[in-house]
């Protein structure tokens, strides 16, 4: 349970990080919070030749909430984002999802951008990125590019980040005041990997009826699955039969797999139950936001 030897560099500037990554190419791996990477190293499931520690780059720790966006730097810890009142107001789904990410002690060190870059299909923040179509800034010495949430996840633990590149920032647009969101999941133990989880975003009309509704499922496929159920729910209120129909439709359109944690049938059942709950929670959250005028 000890990592294999590796070369270690800890640049103190963005340029230093990009140069180190350019030099190490395929052999390099970025170390941010390390809460997923270090267990992989200790179990020797991964043994990169060179670790580029980005924790000493001051500008990477910046968390900005602007009138239009929440911008999360590469080393912003989960707990910092979770506790940011401004970020919670702008994009409530971030805090809703973060409360399910591991335990507070892990969140003290783990990073939000790291969770996304790790591309774990059971990661809550991967679903948030896909659902809200956040933008990941990926940099290398050749320059910077922006990858949309819908294009970011390639497969399990595989993202659009290429060797020599590092995700330096993730940015989410402030949600409209008539949009509500929710995150809910079922895990064997609180803080453990979800058997199934859902994130939902619902936009209401001025009359408090559903205008648009989208859901992102995690732990259900190799990458987060986003399903648009606006057509089914448009015009609904919370007491309507259509919510159940939409949940059933969502469950029928996924193909979860059986593993040691849960059977495919159980997962499909969870998708239906959690979708129903998640949709209603998001609707309630939208009502609340509208009435509070945020």
């Amino acid at each position: 349970m000890k990592p294999a030897p590796f070369e270690y560099v800890h640049p103190t500037s963005r340029e230093g990080v990009l140069a180190a990554l350019a030099e190490s190419g395929e052999d390099g791996k970025v170390l941010a919070g390390g809460q997923s990477l270090i267990p992989l190293l200790s179990m020797r499931l991964a043994s990169p030749k060179i670790l580029v520690d980005i924790n000493q780059v001051p500008e990477f720790s910046s968390l900005k909430v602007t009138p239009s966006h929440v911008e999360i730097g590469a080393t912003v810890r989960h707990e910092e984002l979770l506790n940011s009142v401004e970020a919670r107001k702008a994009v409530p789904l971030l805090a809703q999802a973060l409360s399910y990410v591991a335990h507070p002690v892990i969140r003290n060190r783990g990073t939000c951008v790291g969770s996304i870059a790790h591309a774990d299909p059971s990661g809550e923040l991967t679903a948030v990125l896909s659902l809200l179509d956040g933008v990941v800034t990926v940099e290398s010495r050749r320059g910077s590019r922006e990858v949309n949430g819908v294009d970011f996840f390639v497969g399990p633990l595989e993202s659009a980040i290429k060797p020599g590149e590092v995700a330096t920032r993730v940015s989410f647009a402030r949600l409209p005041s008539q949009m509500g969101t929710s995150c809910t999941e079922v895990a064997r133990r609180h803080g453990d990997y979800a058997l199934v989880g859902v994130c939902v975003a619902i936009l209401l009309t001025d009359e408090e009826l559903v205008d648009r509704a989208r859901i992102a499922l995690f732990s259900v496929g190799p990458t987060p699955i986003v399903i648009d159920v606006s057509e089914m729910l448009r015009g609904s209120r919370s007491d309507c039969q259509r919510w159940q129909d939409a949940a059933r439709f969502i469950a029928s359109s996924v193909e979860p797999e059986t593993d040691i944690h849960a059977s495919a049938a159980y997962r499909r059942n969870l998708v239906e139950v959690l979708s129903n709950k998640g949709l209603k929670d998001a609707y309630e959250s939208a009502l609340k936001r509208m009435r509070e005028g945020q």
């Binding site: 349970m1 000890k2 990592p3 294999a4 030897p5 590796f6 070369e7 270690y8 800890h10 170390l31 390390g34 809460q35 270090i38 267990p39 190293l41 200790s42 179990m43 670790l51 520690d53 924790n55 707990e79 591991a102 335990h103 507070p104 002690v105 892990i106 003290n108 060190r109 133990r189 609180h190 803080g191």
Partner: protein, 163 residues
Amino acid sequence: MSETLFDIQVLVNGMLRNGRVPARRLLSDFLRHDLQLTGTHVGCEHGVCGACTVLLNGKAVRACLLFAVSVDRQEIVTVEGLKNVDGTLGAVQQAFHECHGLQCGFCTPGFLTTVSAFLDENPHPTEEEAREAIAGNLCRCTGYQNIVKSVMRAAEIRSLAKS
């Protein structure tokens, strides 16, 4: 292959400690093997059990999920640093003692550090908040009832000490 060694300087329990470590030396091993601070226990070594929890700049973190080299010039508090200056048990330690919050004691260092950091942030928790705070620490003896009691008692001792 000879590994590159890094000179590090860490403030551990208020004392400046120097070390020379390979990059892959886990903080938990640095504390136990290099500094002989064996109060920090190593259970699962992949972040699940919580036994190795220490405070990094006042925040609870897993020592097995950090490299010693990355805490260079930072501040660590281990379970050894939780006692009072006069050597008597600190509030959280005293509470665990009084409420039988431990049996075999293996997980205890992690609970003590986690609870200390938690009470710094939330000095008057509800029982539910106390349960949530220790959810990341595994104990296979007590069934947690007495640990929850200990957290509540520790909060009480701390507020009595302040008044």
